[in-house]
Symmetry: C2
Subunit: 228 residues, 2 copies
C-alpha cells in the first residue's frame, strides 16, 4: 500500500476537526499527488462528478513503529463518552488498520500546476498533510442510501452550540465563518464539561482559545500563529 | 495493512460479479474474521445499523509479486468500452492501490459460531474468499448524498436484458432468482457483441452457459459443479 497523494487542510492538529466529513461543508482541502501520479490523464472525467471518496491513513494514531493504536471497543463522543461500542461498529480512528473513509465535495480541479494536477475539495475532516491511499468518485446509485439505519449515530439529537466572541475577531470573513461553524459543532471531547477550562485549537493559521459554558462557546483569544 | 477477515460469496470466479455492490441485492455474503479478531465485543452495536462499508483487496488483480496491475486510464464497460477515463475517476479494480469499497446490507449477525462472530450480508460484489482490511458502519448523515452528480455513471440508461431458459432450470428457487437478476444485468464485457459466443459463468455451485442475442440472455446449460 503506497501513498498516492497528500491532502492539505487548515488543521495543523487533530483537535477541532469535525467528527465526519461534510459536517462543516466550507472546510477547504487540496489534494496534491505524489510525483509518480502527477498525470492529468489519471483524473480525466472526474470533473463530471460532484463528490469524491478519499481513503486515507489515520497518520495521527500510529505508534512509534508505525502500527495502529486501537482497542476492541471505543466510547463514541456522540454517546457522551460513557458507552462502549465495538470498534467495527464505529468510524473511530483507532482501529486495526488505520484507514479513514471520507466523502468530500469536489470544488475545482486544476490539471496543470507546478505540483501537477490538484483537486480542491470541501468538507474534509483530515489533519494537514494526511497521506491518501486512494480516491474514487462517489457514485450515487450505489453509494447513497438515504434510508439506511445509522445505529447510535441516529439516536442522539445533534445539538449545536451558540458562539460568542469576547475578544476581537479581526480575521478574514471566510475564516471567521468556518471557525464559527467548527466551534458550534462542539470540538470538546464529549465527556468533558468543565466551564473553567480553556481549550486551544489551531485553525487556518490562527491559535484560538475558548471555553464552553452550558450551550455556549465563548472565544476568549485569537492570535496569528508564528511561522515555523 | 493486515487482513482482518474474509468474505465468502457464491462467486468462485470474477466473471458475472455485478459492477457495483447492491446492484443485485439478493447476493449473499458471509464475513468471517481472522482468529485475532474473533471477539464479539468488536462488533457490539453493529446490529443497530442497516448497512456496512467493506474495504477490501482486489485480490484477483495482483501480479505474481502481489503488486497491483493498473494503468492511468481505463475504459468503463458502461461507456461501451471505447472511452478512456482516468483511473481515479472510476471504481475500476485496476488501480495503484488495489483497494475496493463496497456498501452491503447487514442481513444478520451471529455473535457466537465455531468461527467466532459472523456477519451475514447482502448485495456483495466480491469473489469468494476476498480479503477484507476494514469494515465500518454506514452513517447516512455523512455518507448518503442522493443528489450527487455521478459523472459517466449518470449518463447511460441502465438497460437490463430479458432472460430465457433453453435448458432445464432444476435448481433451488433463490439461486434461480438471483441468477436471473445477475444475467439480466448483462455480465458480458460491454464491448463484446457476438451472438454466437457462449459465455460460461460459475455461481452458487453451478456452471452456467449462456449466449446473448440482442437484448435477450439465453441460458443454454446449467450443471452442478464438481466438488474440488
Amino acid at each position: 500500500m503506497k501513498k498516492i497523494a497528500n491532502i492539505h487542510t487548515d488543521f495543523p492538529e487533530k483537535f477541532g476537526i469535525p467528527r465526519q466529513s461534510g459536517v462543516v461543508a466550507e472546510l477547504k482541502g487540496k489534494i496534491v499527488f505524489e510525483p509518480e501520479f502527477r498525470n492529468p490523464d489519471m483524473i480525466r472525467g472526474l470533473e463530471d462528478f460532484s463528490h469524491l471518496w478519499i481513503i486515507w491513513q489515520f497518520s495521527e494514531n500510529l505508534d512509534t513503529d508505525g502500527n495502529a493504536k486501537w482497542s476492541p471497543t471505543v466510547r463514541p463522543p456522540r454517546l457522551g463518552g460513557n458507552t462502549r461500542i465495538g470498534v467495527f461498529a464505529t468510524r473511530s480512528p483507532f482501529r486495526p488498520n488505520p484507514i479513514g473513509l471520507s466523502v468530500v465535495t469536489i470544488d475545482r480541479i486544476e490539471t496543470d500546476t507546478p505540483e501537477g494536477p490538484v483537486i480542491h475539495v470541501k468538507g474534509a475532516d483530515m489533519v494537514d498533510n494526511t497521506p491518501i491511499y486512494d480516491i474514487k468518485p462517489y457514485i450515487p446509485y450505489a453509494d447513497s442510501i438515504p434510508d439506511a439505519k445509522g445505529g447510535f449515530t441516529d439516536s442522539m439529537e445533534y445539538k449545536t452550540l451558540k458562539v460568542e466572541w469576547e475578544c476581537e475577531s479581526n480575521i478574514p470573513e471566510n475564516t471567521y465563518d468556518s471557525l464559527n461553524k467548527l466551534l458550534s459543532n462542539d470540538p470538546r471531547p464529549h465527556y468533558q464539561n468543565d466551564p473553567d477550562r480553556i481549550y486551544g485549537m489551531a485553525y487556518a493559521g490562527y491559535n484560538v482559545k475558548f471555553k464552553v459554558i452550558d450551550d455556549e462557546v465563548i472565544v476568549v483569544e485569537i492570535k496569528k500563529q508564528e511561522r515555523s
